[in-house]
Structures are given as structure tokens and as C-alpha cells.
Symmetry: C2
Subunit: 337 residues, 2 copies
């Protein structure tokens, strides 16, 4: 494509970091967020990549946003740690909390990390992947905004509540999944609105609570969970574990907190880490490989495989970025100061 460039990971992180710090975000947050967004871009998750940079300015303009956040982990027990993101971006808090989480999980077999009060602007999988790169099984989840009607309901209450999981593999990157528990993402629905196409059944309801295939009506009404009442139950579990359990906002509360600022959702995030070693399981990873072989034998892929292929390509040829997006980032450099 003529309309895109290939840029090295190092240079792209430097660019994103400069964008953020030139807009008043402290260095630690700028570095952490830049890295996480570039990882998404590198692996082909463009929706969670550099395209999010311009939107960070809107998030930073939320009256409660803290450009100087300097979160520090707080030990709750040998197995639990909490970190207050201090109303900055959640990924710096997550990154710092993960260090304590990893240590605890190696010590006692499993551990949990609660990240509170963070504006969430990234995918979860770069973070669970980092935990798995330390030899641990990782699980993460968070509420968002109350866009999703529960099964049997007629209006938004639950978030799009993503869940991400990573399993470490020897000499290979972890098996990783990360998806919203809504049937589709808001971005997917908005894309259908732009192209004027109907969405599949079971994506959402209009503002009367009736099933609709009109993307505009769904965006003004309610999204639906994936997988019917089962997906709805998973979304509820996420809402509870990464909300009330850790003293964090529900999706409805997060939405109220936004007060029309249209910032990235601000809420809690839960991470769990498990050590295969605790069950005497040096063999656990080999054992899992026999399961993974069963996928490849029948031509199925493991979650994450596609991303890793794109990652290899990015390493060889540079990371794909659209030229108009780069132009926009340049224009907005320092715009918020």
C-alpha cells in the first residue's frame, strides 16, 4: 500500500512517547502507554494500536485525569497486591503491579493484582503476555461502560468486559487470547454504520429493547453479550471480579464518572497469575503441548497464532502504520499543552 509506512519498533515507541510527553503526560506513563500501543500495532491489532494516540488527548482532558500519576504497589497479603493508578492511564500501574504479582505467584503458587482508578486505553493481551513470559499462567479482565444488556434484559448495564488469558510455552511466545464479551465491539458496529450495512442478528437491541440489525439504533440502544446467556454470565462474573470485589467501579459507575468527557473508560482491572510449579508441574508445559498438538493436527489455530505471524513480519519489515495517522500524530504533537 502506498498509503502506509514501515517503521521500526524502537522508532515508533520513541514517536508515541514523544507525542504523549509533549502533551504533558509524565515520562513513566508516556513510556508505558507508548510501548503497549506499539505492541498492539506491531501485532496487527490496529484498533488498539497507534490509532488510539489522538484519543489520549480527549482522555487527558477529563477533569479527573492525572498526568503526573506515579502509582506504587501496595501489599495486601502474600498472595494479593493492589495498585492505585491515581486516575492516570492504567497500563503504568499494571506494569508496576505485575512485578509484585509475578514474585508472589512464584512464591505461593497463585496471586492476584488489583489495579484501581485507571483510565484504560490499551488491549489486555500485551500485559498477560508479559506475565506469561515470566513462566506464569495469566488471566486478566475489566469492566468498561454500561453498553451491554444482560441476557433477558433490554438496556445497557454490563460492560464489553474483555477477558485475556496467557499460557507460557517453551521456546515460543505464550498462547494468548483477549476478547470482549460483547457479541461485537463498538468499533465493529460503528464501521457497519459508516458503510450503511446491517449487522448480524444478536449483536444488539434498539433503545426500546427490541432486537435490531441497524447499527445506529444499536449504538443508541444496547449491545448484546456473545454466546447468549452463557456469555452474559461470563460478562457478569468479570463485572463482579474486576469491580465490587476489588473496590472498583462497575461499568455503570464508570460511565457516570465520565460525565460526557468521552474519555477512555476509567475503572479497575484484575490480574491473576498461576505458577505451574506449585503442583510439582515442571511437566505442565510439556503436557499442554500435547493438547496444543491436537489443535494443529486438525488444522485449527491456537489463539494468538495470527498475531505472532504478523509480529514476525513487523520484525523483518518494520511495523505498518498509515501515513494519514502519522500525519495526524505529528499535527497533534504538543497540541494539548
Amino acid at each position: 500500500m502506498t498509503n502506509e509506512l514501515r517503521i521500526s519498533e524502537t522508532n515508533l515507541i520513541a514517536l508515541a512517547e514523544e507525542f504523549l510527553s509533549s502533551n504533558g503526560l509524565n515520562i513513566a506513563q508516556s513510556r508505558s502507554l507508548a510501548r503497549t500501543l506499539v505492541e498492539a500495532q506491531r501485532d496487527g491489532s490496529f484498533s488498539h494500536g497507534l490509532q488510539r494516540l489522538p484519543g489520549t488527548l480527549t482522555t487527558m482532558s477529563h477533569p479527573q485525569f492525572n498526568r503526573d500519576a506515579d502509582p506504587q504497589p501496595h501489599d495486601l497479603s502474600v498472595a494479593a497486591v493492589q495498585i492505585d493508578a491515581q486516575f492516570g492511564f492504567s497500563c503504568l500501574a499494571a506494569e508496576r503491579g505485575i512485578e509484585a504479582l509475578v514474585e508472589k505467584a512464584h512464591d505461593v503458587g497463585l496471586a492476584m493484582l488489583a489495579v484501581n482508578n485507571g483510565f484504560h486505553s490499551t488491549a489486555l493481551w500485551p500485559l498477560v503476555e508479559r506475565i506469561s513470559n515470566r513462566g506464569l499462567v495469566a488471566l486478566s479482565m475489566n469492566p468498561t461502560h454500561a453498553w451491554v444488556a444482560p441476557a433477558g434484559g433490554n438496556r445497557g448495564l454490563l460492560g464489553t468486559n474483555p477477558i485475556a488469558f496467557a499460557w507460557p510455552r517453551r521456546d515460543k511466545p505464550p498462547a494468548v487470547f483477549d476478547f470482549a464479551t460483547s457479541a461485537a465491539s463498538r468499533a465493529d458496529i460503528a464501521m457497519h454504520r459508516e458503510t450503511g450495512t446491517e449487522v448480524p442478528e444478536e449483536w444488539g437491541l434498539d433503545n426500546q429493547g427490541k432486537p435490531s440489525r441497524d447499527p445506529a439504533k444499536i449504538l443508541a440502544g444496547a449491545m448484546l453479550p456473545f454466546g447468549g446467556h452463557k456469555g452474559s454470565a461470563i460478562a457478569l462474573m468479570i463485572e463482579l471480579l474486576a469491580g465490587p470485589l476489588i473496590g472498583a467501579f462497575t461499568s455503570r459507575e464508570s460511565q457516570s464518572f465520565d460525565q460526557g468527557a468521552d474519555a477512555a473508560p476509567c475503572h479497575g482491572e484484575l490480574f491473576l497469575a498461576f505458577s505451574p510449579g506449585v503442583f510439582g508441574g515442571a511437566g505442565a508445559l510439556d503436557h499442554a503441548e500435547t493438547l496444543f498438538s491436537g489443535f494443529y493436527e486438525q488444522g485449527a489455530r491456537l489463539p494468538g497464532d495470527r498475531r505472532y505471524r504478523i509480529r514476525e513480519n513487523s520484525a523483518r519489515e518494520g511495523i505498518r502504520v498509515s501515513s494519514p495517522l502519522l500525519d495526524r500524530i505529528q499535527v497533534l504533537m504538543g497540541a494539548a499543552i
Copy 2:
């Protein structure tokens, strides 16, 4: 219905316990399994209720089955406990392990219990409900047999892998869900075979890996996960966490272990428990109630509500049991000795 009786919980547990012990199962296992099956029957989960009693004879005839199992929990760390079901029914091991799990979770905020080598014959929700009755949030899951094709695959590899979750409520029984991660249960598909009706799309594949609506072909082919690739990812996570992580069988290994005995699947089971108290959250339960209110405000139900209504009815009028099933249980009393 003329063809059913109403029997008190106490009497039904005594009957089930007598059935099991008269067939050579030791008292501790008989008591535990009887109680769990009767709880399912009481709450209207007939598929996991007394109807399973006759099948226990088939399970007990598996060459490895241990009628004298006397599982004892084994401490792995302050946050992890493991119990070997010794190739008896898993519910006694789970019950005993849960005592240690609850103590650890109250102490350090979260804990995990691995139950290994148990023949699994019950629903999971009676067990997570018991954990939640102790003030904890509970999560449980297990592999089964390799009946389910992963997304993008064409033959059985994953189990029907149930997941159960319970959240404690003040002055009310916990919010609880428990479901298979397959699109439908094998029992549902078999019912369609018996009535000669087609099953909905996306329930399964024939033995060539092609989508089919013929229940007989699916039972000879492969089931599909609920919710497409997202449900498939959840099923994989369950397979890994309650399999290789805890040194237990995958669904494929469990199926091989059966060696045609047609016993209940023998495998591991994972329980997690979280204490709302660890995050200073005496308010966590009240906070969750505001979320639950959002369900009722829009006419949606919480998972478990239907079961609790049936439970109240059972307490008032006795537990419904079909007369032919009772006759069959009487005939098979002591049959295996």
C-alpha cells in the same frame, strides 16, 4: 403429575446414600455424593440429580474405580491445596478440600484447590454455592471427555468443560451460574435424537467435520463450543487450568482412561476462592447489590434465581422425583454387590 412423588430432602438423601452404600461405596463417599445429587434434584436440575444414581453402578465398575477412597488434603502453600480423589467420586475430595480452601482464602485473600483423579458425576454449582455460603467468591471448572471440536477444527478435542461461579449475597443465597462451554449438552443432543428432531445450527459437526443438524451424526462426530471462537477460547482455558496446570488429565486423556467402560469422566477439578475482605471490601457485597438491582430493574434474572424458586417449592412440598426412577433405584439397590 400422577407419575411423580414428593419426598423430603432428608429422606431422599437417606435413600440415595443407602443405594450407594448397598452397592459397596464407602460411607463417606456415599454421603457426599448422595447429598450433592439430591441438591441438584431439589433445585430442579434433574439431569444432574437422582437420574445419575443408576449410572454410578457403571462408573463403579470401571477397573480403576476405588470404592474405598479416603482422600486427604495436601497443603502446597499458604494459598494452594491439592487433594487426590484416589479414583473415587470427586465430590468427597472436593468437599474435604473446600474446608482447607476456605480457610486459606480467608487468610490470604485468594486460594486454589486442585482435585485430582476423581470420577466426576455431579454438577459444580452445589460446591461453589457451599464456598460462597462461607462468604467467599468461588469459581470452579473441569475438563470432561474430548467431545468438542475447537473453533476452526473438525473433530473432538476439548471437553464440554463446565464453569461455575458463585458470588455471596447477604440474607440471600449466592448468585450462581454453572454451564457447559459446549453449545449444548450431550443430553440435549441425545434428546433430539430420541424425538427425531433436528438440532439448531452450530451445535455440532458430523464425523467428516462438516456442520450437521442431525443429532445422531453429531454424537458420532463432534460437538461445538458455545459462542464461536470466544467460547472455544474459554473451553481451552478451562482445559489448561483444570488439566495440565494441576497435573490432571486433558479431556482426551480422560477419554482414553475410560477404556470403553462408559463411566463418568475421570479428571481433575479446579476451585478458586476470593475473599472480598482482602480489598478492605466489607462494602463489596453491598456494592454488588447495586449491580444486581440493575438486572431486576430491567426484568432480567440473576443466574441461579430459577433454581432458588424451585428450591423453595421443594422445601414446602417435598422434592419431585419420578416414580419409575424411584422404582429403578429400588430394583438396583445392592445390585452391584
